[in-house]
Amino acid sequence: MSDTITGVFLIIGSFIVLLAGIGLVKMPDIYTRMSATSKASTLGVSVVLITTGFFFGTTGIITRTLLIVVFLMITAPVASHLLGKAAYLNKLPLWDKTKRDDLSGNDYKC
């Protein structure tokens, strides 16, 4: 793969990871923060890793980077779900503009 395309995709992937960091600081409660970091960081790191694999271009490196990408895409939702469940059991406050809370057992607020 040519050097220019590699550089462009590296910058795109790093920018998506930076968006995850901005969401981690600016979001109002822990559930939205977790939503921002788990999705955006997985996508950004996947773009960087796939670019690395096609930059070297040999079968061993492409297999290794795709293995890391598949592993990240399997484990990130599991970790995020467990952490969200733990946060809800600890009664962490929701954002005050939250529309509905399905786990509360009451009727819908909206």
Binding site: G7, L10, V17, G21, I30, V48, G60, L89
Partner: protein, 89 residues
């Protein structure tokens, strides 16, 4: 020529992301916020390793990224388990 600039710029963006994660790590009102910040730091470290391997041409270091992803996942699951135990009682 452009690739060198792109590598430096990407490393700067990732370093700024780690800085934002450290802000949340210090400020976070609860332990769960800090665990989220540590998880993001692990992901950024994997991206760092990939860009480092492009810069130096050494490809063995990608194995370190694989093990780092595994360790980060186990750490997050362990913290979530103990937070869940603390919330139940």
């Amino acid at each position: 020529m452009f690739l060198g600039f792109a590598i430096d710029f990407s490393l700067a963006l990732l370093g700024f992301t780690i800085l934002l994660a450290i802000v949340r790590l210090i400020k976070g009102p609860h332990t769960a916020d800090r665990v989220v910040a540590a998880d993001l730091t692990t992901s950024v470290a994997i991206a760092f390793i990939a860009i480092y391997s492009i810069r130096t041409g050494e490809t063995w270091i990608l194995d370190v990224g694989l093990i780092l992803g595994f360790a980060g996942f186990l750490g997050t699951v362990g913290y979530a388990y103990y937070l869940q135990l603390r919330g139940k009682k």
